[in-house]
């Protein structure tokens, strides 16, 4: 499928939105990226850069080549890639924790799982648990793993140690110098091969492949730095876009106050966030803003805040109400696109899908902020089904997989992650850990037979 500008001849009459929930302010809708790019000539101007076609196809290397070494599109892409590596690291960490935490250990598990478990605890900001496990694998026949264990032990022994500064330690998967517009290679997984512990009864211990979340963390940091470098050190785009995807305990940096600079069109185009205010809604929730007040504060500028507010009942987001609102909003935006262009066009429907998915995703963040984790998960699953075609966002899907892994639900996680494992170098590392969880959970389940 090609992404083509709709600046050709008008196609069909603009249809009014169906009767449904009350429309939101036209001013908010007019400020959204779908309506902006629907203006005659606007999409042509964007698509003059071939990077967008690659981006539409989720060909990230091709998009980087197209966007070049600088500019907001390059910064946005590096930030997105950084977010994807973060969610993959989270998926890997949660898989590892659910496989190897003490109550889930099994006979035969290699002694070295203590090291990968330690790194997993680092990723989820449980540094003390990590420290307890580090330094125990120095005697491993895997010299690489022993060195990595020592490197993390040393790193966490520093005062206020965290994972986020890029490490140049040779045992911690260092990458080449940060260069915007480039996709660095990442070490192939599994990173280490170790032996099972010998079993009573004397069967030959088999080799076990382990992967280290450090590699994905390093990649995440590298691309974040590249995003800033693409804008000559301006971190506003990277911080804003990563604000929705930071790992537990990680600082929000320049957007900690939830004050976002107005983002350029290139940072929002084909994203779930219609305006900077929509992203601000989510970033603010991550920064700890109380949801009710935050929704109210942004209802005049954020389409999502406006419609989600209508569906909040007793500190919960009603999923049925929000689906209705999301559909109505997407129709309103689509109609506004038609009005801006002068007629309806197929690309308008394509872009309206971002609205539907984005509303539901923002609703999930609000539910989470209310402490309704199950309600948030339900909304994310609905958003998953509504994220079709170009609105199918790999980072979002991997984040659901990461959540599922934390719930010991590997089947859905595998299905979600499998489609994206080859999208970026090194993501295979997360699959190694997810496979291990899948094996463990499935072997704990009751028997089942094939059915036709």
């Amino acid at each position: 499928m090609l992404l083509l500008a709709c600046s050709g001849e008008p196609t069909e009459q603009v249809a009014p939105p169906k009767t449904g929930p009350e429309p939101i302010s036209e001013a908010i809708v007019s400020a959204s990226w779908p309506v902006k790019v629907a203006a005659p000539g606007a999409l042509d101007a964007l698509l003059a850069n071939p990077g967008w076609q690659s981006y539409y196809e989720r060909n990230y290397s091709g998009a980087l080549t197209g966007f070049g070494a600088s500019g907001p599109a390059t910064a946005r892409l590096h930030a997105e890639i950084s977010a994807m590596y973060r969610q993959a690291a989270l998926l890997q960490a949660r898989s590892t924790i659910e496989t190897y935490r003490p109550e889930q250990l099994r006979e035969g598990d290699p002694a070295e799982v203590s090291y990968v478990l330690a790194v997993a605890w680092v990723v989820v900001n449980e540094t003390e648990k990590a420290k307890e496990l580090l330094g125990k694998s120095g005697g491993s026949p895997s010299k690489a793993l022993a060195a990595a264990d020592a490197a993390w032990a040393k790193r966490l022994a520093q005062p206020d140690a965290r994972w986020w500064p890029i490490s140049n330690d040779p045992a911690q998967f260092p990458l080449a110098e940060v260069t915007p517009g480039v996709m660095p290679g990442i070490a192939d997984a599994p990173h280490y091969t170790v032996k099972e512990r010998p079993l009573d009864g004397g069967s030959t211990p088999l080799d076990v492949g382990l992967s280290d979340a450090t590699a994905l963390l390093q990649a995440a940091m590298w691309h974040e730095a590249a995003a800033a470098a693409a804008l000559a050190g301006d971190v506003s785009v990277a911080d804003a876009l990563l604000g929705a995807w930071r790992l537990p305990g990680e600082p929000l940096n320049s957007v900690a106050s939830a004050e976002l600079k107005e983002l350029p069109l290139e940072a929002l185009f084909m994203s779930p966030w219609l305006t900077t205010a929509d992203l601000q809604l989510v970033v603010g929730l991550n920064a700890g803003k109380p949801a009710t007040e935050w929704l109210q504060q942004l209802s005049g500028t954020s389409a999502y805040a406006a419609v989600i507010s209508r569906c909040v009942v007793e500190q919960k987001v009603d999923p049925n109400c929000l689906q209705d609102q999301a559909i109505a909003l997407s129709q309103q935006v689509e109609a506004a696109m038609g009005k801006a262009f002068g007629s309806a066009a197929a690309d308008h429907r394509l872009f309206a899908q971002f609205v539907l998915a984005g509303t539901l995703r923002a609703g999930a963040e609000v539910a989470e902020s209310f402490g309704d984790e199950r309600g948030a998960a339900e909304l994310r699953l609905i958003a998953r089904d509504r994220s079709v075609d170009a609105a199918a966002d790999p980072t979002f899907f991997i984040s659901i997989a990461a959540w599922d892994a934390g719930q010991r639900n590997p089947v859905r996680a595998q299905e979600l992650f499998h489609g994206y494992v080859d999208k970026l170098p090194g993501l295979q590392a997360a699959r190694v850990s997810l496979d291990a969880l899948n094996l463990r959970v499935s072997r704990d389940a009751g028997p089942a037979i094939p059915v036709h």
């Binding site: 049925n320 509504r386 639900n409 089947v411 499935s442 389940a445 009751g446 037979i449």
Partner: protein, 524 residues
């Protein structure tokens, strides 16, 4: 200036459908259920309907995967974990008004342990359960064969009513229960010739938001989608990939993911003299052009991104940890190599047709009939490819009944090839498909394939003590099956349902589908 030749979606397609009124739903299934007794479930249709009528002791919540029970109030481990004491929730009734008791839990366990119950799933459960005793009318103690990690996970069995079977634990598939089941689930089911109906049964633990549910057998997928658009039904369980765009284009419809692991195959009857030599099976594997088949049947163009249909080279989906990613798939045909193999195996091509011992070979190809909905014309396309390579062929659609009675029982010797699909959930135990038929093993070994090396690997999987041992056994199995080819492995096809948007809170449980049906509602 670009014009836009790609009209991807109709603009604001409006369905003139009436809104659903009342709490009734109708939906299209792949076929009618073959049994309402969960011990004898053979198809995904069976598995799904059992979830409406029966309760499993424990199940996983489809949203957060929490292990929960509707019928157990509390549990505790006994005998250092080798037994589990279950206190039942009070007031739970069977759909005939009888009270659910500990005797029903123990009856269920004992029925599975009874060797007179000819159920493949019961056979598997015998490795898990050792017995059960009724401590009090509402307290059952279930004994395991050993101490298991996370023992509650082993209790995902449907509970059967002791009184419906007169206490006889040797349960037969033709018992009346298979047609008129009595469960404790949210809906009371009744099978008919043209469909299955379900009526709400209010209970202390179930209060479904839908009063009646009607299962209808789906046929032409286009008709199914049109009927859905016109609100003649409110849902379709399986929407073929070729019809998904039309569903997506409708504001009143929504596609929903249905997570299960399904893969398609062509089983090869190696009991036929000309198929005994594995070089002939390997040749067939090279004659089948999966890329063309997928395009012609599923509608996936070569190189298409995010295809719902992914080729496989062994008996697992590619996202599975058991899939051996070092075994390449044959995406394209290689007739030259195939013909070399056929000649080496002693087949001769005369007049463009392949002969064995001077007799022309005619392939009798069967396919489970309902699969034609999901993969239209697949049977004909496979036949066409074989014909183009020089094999005469005859094609047959096999009814679900014949599939159950003949194909699955290894009595379909009249066919050379049969096309089918297997589905799995969390557990991907393929031993019943490839183990030699003996001692209760190989229960679904379609053409009675037998290979001692394969049996050894399957045994290694079964007795594996570590995850790595299990994975290693199945990786080796995958590699060996790709050589021996009792099946030509085709593809994994993802599954999507479609529901009208006025159907609310319709969470689909991976594999089981209807697990949280209580919450489903209708209304604009």
């Amino acid at each position: 200036m670009h014009s836009n030749p790609h009209r991807l979606l109709s603009v604001l397609g409006l369905a003139a459908a009436a809104l659903t009124t009342g709490a009734s739903l109708a939906f299209f299934e792949e076929s009618l259920p073959s049994t309402m007794n969960p011990l004898f479930a053979q198809s995904m249709v069976d598995n799904r309907v059992h979830e409406l009528v029966m309760d499993r002791i424990y199940f996983n919540d489809p949203i957060n995967n929490e292990l929960v029970s509707n019928i157990v109030q509390e549990w505790s481990l006994l005998d250092s974990g080798k037994s589990i004491r279950l206190v039942l929730r009070k007031g739970v009734k069977w759909q005939d008004g009888e009270v659910l008791g500990a005797d029903d839990i123990c009856f269920t366990v004992k029925a599975m342990l009874d060797p007179g119950t000819p159920s493949p799933i019961a056979e598997k459960q015998r490795a898990i359960f050792a017995g059960c005793t009724v401590e009090k009318p509402d307290v059952a103690v279930v004994q395991f064969t050993k101490v298991f990690h996370n023992p509650l996970n082993r209790l995902s069995v449907h509970v059967l009513p002791e009184h419906a079977f007169g206490g006889k634990t040797a349960i037969q598939p033709d018992h009346e229960f298979s047609l008129r089941p009595v469960g404790t689930g949210p809906m009371k089911g009744s099978s008919g010739r043209r469909g299955t109906t379900f009526e709400k049964y209010k209970n202390v633990h179930h209060d479904a938001g839908i009063d009646t549910l009607s299962l209808q057998e789906g046929n032409d997928p286009l008709v199914q989608v049109k009927t859905l658009i016109n609100n003649g039904v409110q849902g379709i369980i399986t929407v073929p990939p070729g019809n998904r765009a039309e569903v997506s284009a409708q504001d009143d419809l929504a596609l929903k993911s249905y997570d299960l692991r399904s893969w398609w195959f062509v089983a090869v009857n190696q009991e036929k003299p000309y198929l005994k030599d594995k070089r002939v099976r390997q040749a067939l594997d090279l004659i089948v052009d999966r890329t063309d088949l997928r395009q012609l049947s599923i509608g996936v163009k070569p190189g298409e991104q995010n295809s719902p249909c992914e080729f496989i080279s062994g008996p697992f989906v590619q996202s599975s940890p058991f899939y051996n990613r070092t075994v390449a798939v044959n995406a394209r045909a290689d007739k030259a190599k195939a013909f070399e193999l056929l000649n080496a195996a002693g087949l001769k091509q005369e007049g463009g047709r392949w002969h064995f011992k001077n007799e022309p070979i005619t392939m009798r190809i069967g396919m489970k009939a309902p699969l034609d909905i999901e993969a239209p014309d697949l049977l004909s396309q496979v036949g066409n490819q074989l014909s183009a390579a020089g094999f005469d062929r005859q094609e047959f659609k096999i009814t679900t009944d014949d599939w159950n009675l003949k194909v699955l029982t290894g009595q379909a010797s009249e066919y050379d090839l049969v096309i089918g699909k297997w589905s799995f959930g969390l557990v991907e135990d393929v031993n019943p498909l490839f183990h030699s038929r003996k001692d209760g093993r190989g229960a679904f070994n379609v053409f009675n394939f037998t290979n001692p090396q394969i049996d050894t690997l399957l045994a290694q999987y079964e007795v594996a003590r570590t995850d790595t041992q299990a994975q290693d056994a199945y990786h080796k199995l995958h590699a060996l099956l790709a050589q021996e080819l009792p099946y030509l492995f085709l593809w994994k096809l993802d599954t999507k349902s479609a529901w009208r948007t006025e159907v609310r809170s319709n969470t689909i449980t991976p594999y089981y589908y209807w697990t949280v049906f209580d919450k489903w509602r209708t209304g604009a």
